[in-house]
Symmetry: C2
Subunit: 332 residues, 2 copies
């Protein structure tokens, strides 16, 4: 694709009607390929290849946006009310507003999933600052925009890693501080996480954990982390996204009488844990069996991790925890 | 526009051919209006209304992108080599690569400005991580994308503020730390700056200055800051973008024998300054006459600020500092 891009560039120079300047096309032809999926924007349901935002949207130019990620599993959407609460909380904190209620959004999600036909799906809700219709640098002048997209379910851990456990490296990078960006607003400020990911790849690990600005364990690219020591669970509570999967694990612990604290966890405590797992809507409960090339639990996925993972997926079929999507057939 | 969006939403429900599900449109119809301007992407020059990126681009979803902003003034592009050096440096640090040399980019900029017809223009170069053609969460699988857009020149300070000076509020928010994101990579991580801007508006100020993670003055939304005390200039050197206008002011000081240090500046020193100004490609050298509702230099734009501002704009007409754009006429 890159090669083509050079060729096109060069040929456009010479084909410009014998003048040394290129032609201004009226319509952009997108040469890229996109996955299957459905998006909703500006009251339209479209294939995901059509789902685009202006390069002028401050959601892009200033990463001035919040989002949420939900999923369906076997045609049921998991804990949507928690995701919608977080999404609306983020918009309020960023002083954004959209003309959609929680009920509207749930209906749009349901329609988009139904149109995609996916049983197992990854659903992203986005609110961007948008653009101002008049020339302005003032975010108060912008028209906030709401977008939903649905793609096939994806996981932080691949199939092998889900069974054998992930190899994680602790990064020297500090997760963006809550003094700068409120982590309870789910946001796209990921350059620290992406940098940590490249550092992890360099050290032959598969993903990364970043520290918070106090030097304790924070989170990784798209996930929270839990440790288990002497049968007790713990997860960081500072400088982390308040993940819904994290919350679900805490709810399961409460239900099963397991101890689970949200508190500061330092690097030594992480390295000394009996079991470690990460949580994300993208993958659920995912075991970690190696940290900085050192085996956790002799490199085996631990019993408590396995139990919690199983209970997490069982919840997906219970009416208190999930809602079935109504898939329509075009003939009805 | 928001009102329309509700109406469309409701009407799409009922027009769906007597089935309770909406129709999947094949093409997205964008109802928004955009300013005049020209963009270049995927070897195509297009009106800016056509310049869009996929919602799946990690440049959006992870703010995994770097950019640069140049400008033309009276048809001349200012110090492009410095901007291109910074842009290529940012891409290298983010491990991105594009199939365009510095010369290619300069030619694209020149063509895009010529096609826009703008004498005074704001030019943004963007490299995004892009998307992966296969399902992947690994940034190494992505095809990096290069975009240029040209819009009319815009300024952080409006016409009145350029003459009378800006009213700035010092924010309690901390600029994202260099321990998290390297500020020498020009990036879109602006939620801290946008938050500071809203705080400033709340306090009836016009823009904001954020502190660094050591408690000293850092920068504001899109600009660096300078203070002048007893004829000597200073500007922060930690947790700031290494601005080209900042560099230009330092170069002017060197040329004119003025003392100018890049060093830590605390809040008290800022408040005690004889003169204060901010710098940005978007507006150049812009005076500050009020900080936290306290007048700087009795609320008057200072002499040194005025001189530097004048010298800054004079440089725009010198061949060592700027290159003329060749505007083509369609008949030649």
């Amino acid at each position: 694709m890159k090669k083509n891009s050079i060729d096109n560039k060069k040929s456009s120079k010479s084909s410009a009607h014998n003048i040394p300047f290129p032609v201004l096309n009226t319509v952009y032809q997108d040469p890229h390929t996109y996955p299957e999926g459905v998006a909703y924007l500006d009251s339209q349901y479209v294939p995901i290849s059509q789902a685009k935002i202006s390069v002028l949207d401050w959601g892009f130019l200033h990463s001035d946006a919040t989002y949420d990620v939900l999923h369906t599993w076997r045609g049921r959407i998991f804990r949507p009310e928690l995701h919608l609460n977080r999404f609306f909380n983020g918009m309020e904190k960023l002083r954004m507003s959209i003309d959609y209620s929680r009920e509207d959004i749930l209906e749009i999600i349901s329609n988009a999933v139904a149109l995609s036909g996916f049983q197992d799906s990854y659903i992203e809700l986005i609110c961007t600052r948008g653009c101002s219709p008049k020339p302005s640098r003032d975010p108060r002048d912008a028209i906030n925009r709401f977008i939903v997209f649905v793609v096939p379910f994806s996981s932080v851990a691949n199939a092998r890693q889900l069974v054998e456990g992930l190899h994680i490296a602790i990064s020297d990078r500090t997760r963006i501080s809550p003094r700068s960006v409120d982590p309870s607003i789910k946001n796209y400020h990921w350059l620290d996480l992406v940098g940590g990911l490249y550092d992890a790849y360099d050290s032959k690990a598969e993903t990364a954990l970043l520290l918070d600005d106090r030097g304790n364990i924070a989170e990784g690219p798209g996930f929270n982390v839990f440790i288990i020591k002497d049968g007790k669970l713990a997860t960081p509570n500072y400088s982390v996204l308040l993940g819904i999967t994290r919350q679900t694990v805490m709810d399961i612990c409460l239900e099963k009488g397991l101890s689970c604290d949200a508190r500061a966890i330092n690097k030594l405590e992480l390295l000394a844990a009996d079991e470690v797992f990460i949580t994300s809507t993208a993958g659920g409960v995912m075991p970690v069996t190696t940290i900085n090339h050192k085996a956790v639990n002799n490199g085996e996925v631990g019993m408590i991790t396995k139990c919690i993972k199983e209970m997490y997926w069982e919840k997906h079929f219970l009416d208190d925890w999930s809602i079935p999507i109504t898939y329509h057939s075009p003939s009805t």
